[in-house]
């Protein structure tokens, strides 16, 4: 693919983002900044009950209020939808039953916000409470009451049970076996922008337009069409610049469908913006997860077998849960060679806001468990934790035991750079009591290899149009959620055409105007949109070069484009301004409009469940964290973080660093303070004041190290950076706390109370550990046995053409 063999002009340069100017001046229009003539304001009425039958809803008083234009309830929008084909279990408003406190039960549209709000207080809902199921243990133990009846049994939503190789044999070969239990608390994205959607139904055209803060306009289009019973081509979704997503705006949401329905009923535009409290209920965040891991090793630390079990608290609906269930066990193998591996997971329903994908989608929890577990194993064996990992690393160009194809792999370099930069060897175990250093590694995919719904079409398409003014426009459904996708597209196209990113006009994220991109999730955009943009731009360049070659009287292969000029490499005085070359090309070929399409390579695995995990490439990270802990207060202060990331090659190093720093920040929030926790069925902290997240004062310095491996499948060698670097930070903090104080906090967040409790226990002669004590009593079904790739780990797949 497009490897960086020649010197590059804009790729890899620390240029400002193309959207920074608008964002720094307040000019960027987010969804809630939009309004239309005669627009109505919508609000949602939320359930006060975690689990209840709806006996009666009376909206008559609300309808009588002056200024109220429409009120709808579940019966008006009864069609089920959901992000995954196997999880069509949501309705825009609850029908007959509510499944979590905060679930929308009615929606109003009024002339102004004050009236809409007042109308909510006039809607009467009579509930018949059911017993709420609020934990993994309860969900496994209590088959009744059932939260959903569409699943085969009780409150079990999804199951996975796979075995690669022969785990019994692997454990028989082990010299030492260790097992551990961990709990990862749920937490939420907390994007700064509250979700917002503006819908407009045009009766003349019979067409719905929705502007929404969404990461997945294409999937929202499909869900709207389904829920509102409209043909898909009568629904246009325009994703507005997303003011923070982190996975939290990847589902179709209640307010989007309600705004649309209210607009269809009233014939007027309707906007619904969630309040901050409502954003906590919209959620789709990190699954609380209980994990058990057991590993067998040789005396020298080489892994012989591993068993991993995960119990996921899914909240009240499916969301991305079927995928999350598999992500609990899929990526352990892309960092370490595990000769025999068994993975089992169960996702349960509980009466809480639905969990879904948050940065790292289902993989931070198992990564935390795995990396702390390996740290303990290393201590048991008297090995340096870094050394233990080095003895088990995967390499480039290999296929994992669960059939994932690793292409480039810079994990070893990441580790070496971190060990050196952080002073690991001098510091580990040698810092004064209270101070400690911890280490961990991680890996992530560069885009899910399969789409959410099965189809064999491309995942990403880009159109490039060059007009006679020399203006270049790139069309793509990708949506910039802050990760910088606009800048990536502009940079790739500019590089190919010899222009600058600011020269490229972008038309993005509009299902009517732009060709497909599946969305800003699974770290797929740089890889997939980048490749499609590269292909489209190369085709445009070819036409422009052919026209320029004729004009300049030089062969096409000698031409180069740079600094807005097309020129002869051998004699640069033979040159044309880009715009002139574009005019010649249009004169000769007609409209210069070219396309690129990207489809990920075929997956290698064919077993059930093999659809989750394959990706064109994997990014790698390693990190060290130094902490200062106060044994008196239990407070953990992170002093410094070193993070090395295998980026393949950076399209823009400032953006890459920004993603690393943001990932570190988000990880520190998760490991030290953030909790989406509940009491008596209610969210404990649905406000920014009560939901603790790190401020600028808590943020330590971060040393970012970019490792370049030139990924053969990436555009200009690039891989992802938006999610991977978050994963290793969480266990590195936990391991640092152990190095500092000799206590193990096997449960996030690591709060001062837990640290004190562990210290106290240790002082009394105990092991000094806080964490889950018991694995739930749950019988997984026998695992499906999957053959390992023949000759593993030396199996080589046939390279695709």
């Amino acid at each position: 693919m497009a490897s960086a063999r020649r010197s590059l002009n804009v790729v890899g340069k620390p240029l400002p983002r193309v959207d920074a100017w608008g964002k720094a001046t307040g000019r960027t229009r987010y969804a809630d900044d939009l309004s239309l003539p005669r627009m109505l304001y919508g609000r949602l009425l939320l359930s006060t009950q975690p689990h209840a039958l709806i006996k009666r809803i009376d909206v008559s008083r609300a309808l009588e209020l002056e200024g109220v234009v429409a009120v709808i309830t579940g019966r008006d929008v009864p069609v089920r939808y959901g992000i995954m084909p196997v999880g069509q279990d949501e309705t825009a408003l609850a029908v007959d039953k509510v499944r979590y406190a905060g679930e929308p039960v009615a929606a109003v549209a009024a002339l102004d916000e004050d009236t809409a709000e007042e109308a909510l207080s006039l809607i009467e809902v009579e509930y018949e409470p059911l017993r709420p199921i609020m934990s993994i243990e309860e969900a496994l133990r209590l088959p009744e009451p059932r939260i959903h009846d569409y699943v085969p049994a009780g409150n079990i939503h999804r199951l996975a049970s796979l075995e690669f190789g022969d785990v019994a044999q692997g454990f028989a070969e082990a010299d030492y076996v260790r097992e551990d239990l961990f709990f990862f608390q749920g937490n939420t994205h907390l994007p700064m922008e509250q979700h917002s959607a503006l819908a407009y139904w045009d009766p003349a055209e019979g067409k719905l337009t929705l502007w929404s803060s969404t990461q997945t306009p294409h999937y929202v289009q499909r869900a709207l069409a389904k829920a509102l019973e409209l043909p898909e081509n009568r629904v246009r979704v325009i994703a507005t610049p997303v003011g923070g997503g982190f996975g939290g705006k990847s589902d179709p949401f209640h307010h989007e469908i309600c705004a649309a329905k209210l607009s269809m009923l009233t014939g007027r535009p309707v906007k619904i913006t969630l309040t901050r409290e409502e954003v906590f209920y919209a959620h789709r965040g990190r699954h609380p997860e209980l994990m058990w891991v057991r590993t067998g090793v040789k005396r020298d630390g080489r892994i012989t077998a591993m068993e991993f079990q995960a119990f996921l608290d899914g909240g009240a609906y499916s969301s991305y849960g079927p995928a999350t269930t598999y992500y609990a066990g899929t990526f352990q193998t892309i960092t370490y060679r595990i000769p025999h591996y068994r993975f089992q997971a169960v996702r349960v329903f509980t009466n809480k806001p639905p969990c879904g994908p948050k940065r790292g989608h289902g993989t931070p929890q198992p990564r935390y468990a795995l990396e702390v577990h390996l740290d303990k194993l290393a201590h048991d064996l008297g090995l340096d934790p870094v050394e233990l990992r080095l003895r088990n690393l995967t390499g480039p160009n290999e296929v994992t035991v669960n059939w994932l194809h690793i292409t480039s792999n810079g994990l070893r370099q990441c580790i070496e750079r971190i060990v050196e930069a952080s002073g690991w060897r001098e510091k580990r175990g040698r810092l004064p009591y209270g101070r400690g250093i911890g280490f961990a590694v991680s890996a992530y995919m560069c885009g899910a290899g399969l789409p959410i719904y099965y189809n064999d079409m491309p995942h990403s398409e880009v159109q490039v149009k060059v007009d006679r003014s020399g203006n270049v426009t790139a069309y793509s459904m990708a949506i910039d959620i802050g990760q910088g996708s606009d800048t990536v597209i502009a940079t790739v196209v500019a590089e190919v055409l010899g222009l600058y990113p600011e020269d490229i006009r972008l038309v993005t994220a509009d299902t009517d105007l732009t060709p497909i991109d599946l969305g800003s999730y699974s770290s797929r955009v740089t890889m997939m949109v980048g490749n499609a943009a590269y292909e489209a731009a190369m085709k445009a360049r070819q036409l422009i070069f052919r026209a320029a070659a004729r004009e300049l009287g030089v062969p096409v292969r000698r031409l180069e484009a740079r600094d807005r000029t097309v020129f002869d490499r051998r004699d640069p005085s033979r040159a044309l301004p880009f715009a002139e070359a574009a005019r010649l090309a249009e004169a000769r070929f007609g409209l210069i409009s070219t396309i690129g399409s990207y489809r990920p390579p075929q997956r290698l695995g064919t077993y059930k469940g093999s659809g989750v995990g394959p990706s064109p490439a994997y990014s790698y990270s390693a990190c060290a964290v130094e902490v200062q802990c106060d044994p008196e207060t239990g407070e953990v202060k992170v002093e410094k973080v070193w993070l090395a990331h295998d980026i393949g090659r950076p399209i823009n190093p400032i953006l890459v660093e920004g993603q690393i720093e943001g990932s570190v920040y988000m990880a520190l929030g998760e490991v030290l303070m953030e909790e989406q926790a509940f009491r008596k069925g209610q969210h404990r902290a649905p406000s920014m004041l009560d939901y603790k997240s790190p401020t600028i004062k808590e943020m330590p310095p971060v040393v970012s190290i970019l490792v370049e491996t030139d990924e053969p499948r990436g555009p200009f060698g690039a891989k992802e950076v938006g999610q991977g670097p978050l994963l290793c930070v969480i266990p590195a903090v936990a391991n640092a706390v152990y190095d500092a104080l000799g206590v193990r906090i096997d449960e996030t967040p690591i709060t001062p109370e837990k640290v004190l409790k562990a210290l106290d226990e240790k002082a009394k002669g105990g092991p000094g550990r806080v964490g889950p004590e018991r694995k739930p009593d749950f019988a997984f079904r026998e695992p499906t046995r999957v053959e390992r790739p023949p000759g593993w780990p030396h199996y080589r797949p046939h390279e695709e053409g």
């Binding site: 964002k23 720094a24 309040t275 920040y665 988000m666 600028i696 004062k697």
Partner: protein, 158 residues
């Protein structure tokens, strides 16, 4: 109850606007004046996204009533760039990569602008303190404080 008429001077322009007594300054500026640069991240005074200057004082405008600002000079993010030129604080945010999703940025820029007016030569600690009321979920703050320090340097003309 009839609306109340108040006078606001926003970014140098005078407005007379009828407000309900419970409307916040943020709501009024966004919805009635159409200046949507200031953002609501919480509406409860906890995130700083709505920061603006009222008579030279930095406020979280979501919890200030519009009637309290009657007769005041208000500066919002839209008032910082002059004649199409970015203010040095904005310029530094753009150049240092301090902007990601951008939603916190109007508030951040206003807080930084306010800080540098009061303290043209802040230390890193002072920058952290000055921006502690502004949450950002994207950047991890590092590039934000680098930008503020760079802007300070540029504004001092060192």
């Amino acid at each position: 109850m009839p609306k109340r008429l108040i006078n606001l001077t926003v970014n140098g322009e005078a407005y007379e606007v009828a407000v309900e007594p419970w409307w916040s300054l943020l709501y009024t500026v966004r919805e009635e004046l159409g200046l949507t640069g200031s953002k609501e991240g919480c509406g409860t005074g906890d995130c700083g996204a709505c920061s603006m200057l009222v008579d030279g004082r930095l406020v979280t405008s979501c919890i200030m009533l519009a009637v309290e600002a009657d007769g005041c000079q208000v500066t919002t993010i839209e008032g910082l760039a002059t004649d199409g030129n970015l203010h040095p604080v904005q310029q530094a945010f753009v150049e240092k990569g301090a902007v990601q999703c951008g939603y916190c940025i109007p508030g951040m820029v206003m807080a930084a602008y306010d800080l540098l007016r009061r303290n043209p030569n802040p230390t890193l600690e002072e920058v952290r303190l000055g921006l502690a009321g502004n949450l950002c979920r994207c950047t991890g703050y590092a590039k934000i404080y680098e930008a503020v320090l760079a802007a300070a340097e540029r504004m001092r003309g060192d």
